[in-house]
Symmetry: C2
Subunit: 206 residues, 2 copies
Amino acid sequence: MELPSKLLENAVNEIAQLPGIGKRTALRLALHLLRQPVEQTNQLTSALDKMRNEVKYCQSCYNISDTSICLICANPKRDTATVCVVEDVRDVMAIEATGFFKGVYHVLGGKINPIEGIGPSQLNIKPLIEKVRLGGVNEIIFALSSTMEGDTTNFYIYKQLKEFGITTSTIARGIGIGDELEYTDEVTLGRSLMHRIPFEQSIKQV
Amino acid sequence: MELPSKLLENAVNEIAQLPGIGKRTALRLALHLLRQPVEQTNQLTSALDKMRNEVKYCQSCYNISDTSICLICANPKRDTATVCVVEDVRDVMAIEATGFFKGVYHVLGGKINPIEGIGPSQLNIKPLIEKVRLGGVNEIIFALSSTMEGDTTNFYIYKQLKEFGITTSTIARGIGIGDELEYTDEVTLGRSLMHRIPFEQSIKQV
């Protein structure tokens, strides 16, 4: 694909660095911006620059926040003794949307992934251990996605927390509410059988 | 979707203005930029700003170009008497990739689309008529996509060119080379029957 302009080519190459966006889509987006008023590009680029340069992270849970302590951590009604470990802000938003969780979060910022060169030191694992060491935490709930990387990260943290003798748990894996058994993959179905719960308990949960 | 930071929210909203990118994808892209070194965002935004503010268009064919006359129009080997009318730079690139066309282009910058508020005056139609009026053009080839908007634009230009008595043509519509008849839509199949060509001619073309 030979573009007739270096300026356009640079823009396309930069856009195509974003995950899931190929050269073709990048060109479509660049041409779109060229057709729109110049203000749209200015607003886009200044919003991105501002976000990247000025974004703050909560000093307690490491979630993205405009304040040094995020609204969840600053809320006196939240139970700071129960800490839910998640990958990023999207997971916090998903759990908050359920309205079920009254504890606080700890955002790792990713999962251990040797292939992509992400080791424990690049994640917010140390502050979590430190938080537990300082006391006041009763339970750590692991809520990472159940992939190889998620399981590795869970286990790495679990090993370091063992000495403190606090409760650790992972969110339940099983068949989604309303899902059909026959369309569920074998691993999920197998696990949901292995981790079956007393019937009385399953009624109480509702 | 309630984001915990105004900075992030602004960035997501701006990214989501791009065509084909929803809020969810925009958030994924914003979080990706936050995880990458700050230089990546700087390079992206400066490439976009530079493109939008400094891009030039060829004074002859209105294609995107870093020079005031693009490389195609400036090439003395190209036949300036044959002008191929296209929508944007992607069409120029697609036709150039075939290596078949030795004429020059005229880039309209869009198609007449009343629903999106794009009228003839927003497109580079006037300079095309002017080019023909000044003389030296023998044939205009319409190569817009065969949609309602493309056909409208073709017809609008065709009517204005009529008085000059030059040859006008449209690129052939038909069944793609290697395509199966049974999977071709009826309109294409119907048109390819209507516009059938003498067999001897079809052999010569190869």
